[in-house]
């Protein structure tokens, strides 16, 4: 399929996740929907002096961003 943005389902701590890839300008972000009552979360991988780190956009949900970032990385590594 031509240039299809990826989307897939996964699970984190018993909660189902729907993860969708979006391109905003030159940046790829991932929008995460949860099967519990949580608001959707947007994450992207960013450069820091200590290497690339998954970040929540906007700030405030960093722990979730890092956990879900690992799932996204793993998904593409094994694809």
């Amino acid at each position: 399929m031509l240039f299809e943005n990826e989307s897939f389902e996964s699970e984190l701590e018993g909660v189902k996740l729907r993860i969708e890839e979006h391109s905003i300008g030159e940046t790829i972000v991932f929008r995460v929907a949860f099967s519990d009552a949580r608001n959707p979360l947007t994450v992207s991988k960013m450069n820091t002096p200590s290497g690339k780190i998954w970040m929540s956009i906007p700030q405030g949900r960093q722990r979730e961003a890092e956990k879900i970032g690992e799932i996204i990385t793993e998904h593409f590594k094994t694809k």
Binding site: M1, L2, F3, E4, N5, E6, S7, E9, K16, L17, R18, E20, E21, H22, I24, G25, E26, T27, I28, V29, R31, A33, F34, S35, P40, T42, S44, K45, M46, N47, T48, P49, S50, K52, I53, M55, S56, I57, P58, Q59, G60, Q62, A65, G69, I72, T73, F76, K77
Partner: protein, 271 residues
């Protein structure tokens, strides 16, 4: 140094993050529940106004939804495949892309939209995979499993460009949700894309400014519609280079990345 999410980042990265934050806040993600299995993202699209005197830039859901589908559940079934009550399996039907040469075939789901609702999809470039079959070291025969290399394809000296599209307004009869959906028109791959997208030999129908306007605004004969829908953008005005296989999770997905083992594309300035 600045801090974002408690992480130390450079000043320039901080500015980038703040800009991204604003862009995310203004972006329409068309959020859906997890259970709904919504899979296809929104895209920036140019569509004519009612008088066809000008156009609007709007977001549409990428993935054409034919009007005969009544609910999101029906859409999900179409996109993922399903078993009917008799146990017969109906394979997934993807409607992200529509073949330019078949748009107007009698009975084709895209026919009405092609005649009445043509649009342009904005793009700065796209990604595609090139399949290379390594040779068996003992026999010299190609292996059955390909190694895939991602490429970034764009137009030379053009920041953005237009791809032919067709669109379809759709209403969920259960929830009342209204959404405009679209498919990108494709054509046979040109010399460059035959090498890059070598598993399918297809490419998007890219239009120059004149053809883009004609496609979107003019009353066209079926013959002319098919001519434009199958337009093959010239190889010598396109460029393609390899990128990191991890590009989807990369900060700069379009950054060039070299694979030593990968043969170069053949003369790409041929047409």
């Amino acid at each position: 140094m600045c801090y974002y999410n408690g992480q130390k980042v450079s000043r320039s990265e901080y500015i980038r993050l703040m800009e991204l934050e604003k862009a995310v806040a203004n972006y329409n993600f068309l959020d859906k529940d997890v259970q709904e299995g919504f899979a296809y993202g929104p895209s920036a699209v140019l569509k004519p106004n009612d008088l066809k005197s000008n156009f609007d830039i709007v977001q549409m859901e990428w993935g054409f939804i034919p009007s005969y589908l009544k609910t999101r559940e029906d859409v999900k079934k179409m996109r993922t495949g399903y078993k009917d009550v008799a146990g017969k399996y109906h394979p997934p039907l993807t409607t992200l892309n529509a073949k330019g040469e078949e748009l107007l075939f009698p009975g084709k789901m895209y026919r009405d939209a092609t005649l009445k609702r043509r649009c342009l999809v904005l793009s700065t470039g796209f990604y595609e995979w090139r399949h290379i079959f390594p040779k068996n070291k003992r026999t010299g025969e190609p292996l059955k499993t390909a190694v895939k290399y991602p490429y970034y394809i764009s137009l030379k000296e053009q920041e953005y460009f237009y791809m032919a599209g067709i669109w379809q307004p759709w209403v969920d009869r259960q929830t009342g949700e209204e959404v405009d959906t679209m498919a990108i028109v494709t054509t046979d791959a040109n010399y460059l894309m035959k090498q890059v997208h070598n598993s399918k030999n297809r490419m998007p129908t890219i239009l120059n400014n004149e053809l883009a306007w004609e496609w979107m605004m003019d009353d066209l004969t079926e013959k002319r519609i098919t001519e434009i829908a199958t337009n093959q953008y010239p190889t010598d005005q396109m460029q393609a280079y390899t990128i990191d296989k991890d590009f989807r999770t990369s900060v700069e997905p379009a950054r060039a990345f070299t694979y030593e083992e990968l043969p170069n594309l053949e003369v790409i300035n041929a047409t």
